[in-house]
Amino acid sequence: MNWFYVWIAYLVTVIAMAAEVLLLLRRRRAVRHGSDLATDLDAGAEV
């Protein structure tokens, strides 16, 4: 029975971390495609 709580705890952790990483990747993609000025940062443009 104790293992049940352990597995749920690790499952919650994995879901939380995966959600954070996915949201971050989505935000990065949105920002990257959102603006020419922002993408110019990669080329070393001054802000």
Binding site: N2, T13, A16, V21, R27, V31, A38, L41, V47
Partner: protein, 245 residues
């Protein structure tokens, strides 16, 4: 001023910090994944069961690192927010904004895993004792910081308001840490002591330290990734140019 000092000041400029964050991120993300795998293997398969709690204690290998990261990231957030406010350093305020979501996530993990550990060992999901309540307040502080920042349209004003909240809320961190010593609580004492030798056996201490290292590296990688987003978003909205006028 020597050459090295000048190099550090260079990264106060958001465009330089953006490039540095992009270069550093993989160096933290890849080892974090490896250490998580190693920590889970050692913690779930190699470490022996506890003689009192059985296998339920294995929640500790994620609960303790998450609770530590929740507190630590808040201290770092408060530091950067204050530096950004007092010295008017844009990069510091951006760093503070980038830290909040990861800190909140680790605090949620600490509360949920603590509850899942409490059920088989305390016989209850939740108690309003000093440690759990002050950790819940920490989560509210993170949520308050993020809400405040997103509620104010002008970014520089949002940064200043967030800095005040972060600085005031920093008082809560020592309360969380010392709560188990100051008050008689159901929560056990500190698992790891900074100035004292650990009372855990090496077979249990090793996976815990590996998981703590993994959480550190994960946090740095994710925060650097989010920092790049914040810099890009503020660049595209022309915030720096407005502030410079």
């Amino acid at each position: 001023m020597n050459r090295r000092t000048i190099q550090w000041f260079k990264y106060a400029a958001p465009e330089n910090l953006h490039r540095l964050a992009g270069r550093l991120m993989p160096w933290f993300a890849v080892p974090a994944a490896g250490l998580f795998g190693m920590g889970l293997y050692l913690g779930l398969l190699v470490a022996p069961a506890d003689f009192q709690q059985g296998d339920a204690y294995r929640v500790l290998f994620i609960h303790v690192p998450a609770a530590w990261m929740g507190m630590l990231l808040y201290v770092v957030l408060a530091f950067y927010a204050t530096v950004g406010w007092v010295l008017n350093v844009r990069a510091s305020s951006m760093m503070a904004s980038s830290l909040s979501a990861t800190g909140a996530m680790f605090t949620v993990i600490a509360l949920v895993t603590g509850s899942l550990w409490g059920r088989p060992t305390w016989g209850t999901w939740w108690v309003w004792d000093a440690r759990t309540t002050s950790t819940l307040i920490l989560l509210f502080l993170y949520v308050g910081f993020m809400s405040l920042q997103s509620a104010i349209d002008e970014v520089r004003r949002a940064d200043r308001a967030g800095a005040v909240l972060a600085l005031v809320g920093a008082v809560n961190v020592p309360i969380i840490y010392f709560s188990v010593e100051w008050w008689n609580t159901l929560h056990q004492g500190a698992t790891l002591r900074i100035a004292d030798e650990s009372r855990m056996h090496a077979s249990m201490l090793t996976p815990l330290l590996v998981m703590i290292a993994a959480c550190w590296l994960y946090s740095i990688a994710v925060v650097l990734g989010r920092l790049q987003c914040v810099i890009r978003e503020r660049a595209s909205s022309g915030v720096h140019m407005e502030a410079a006028r």
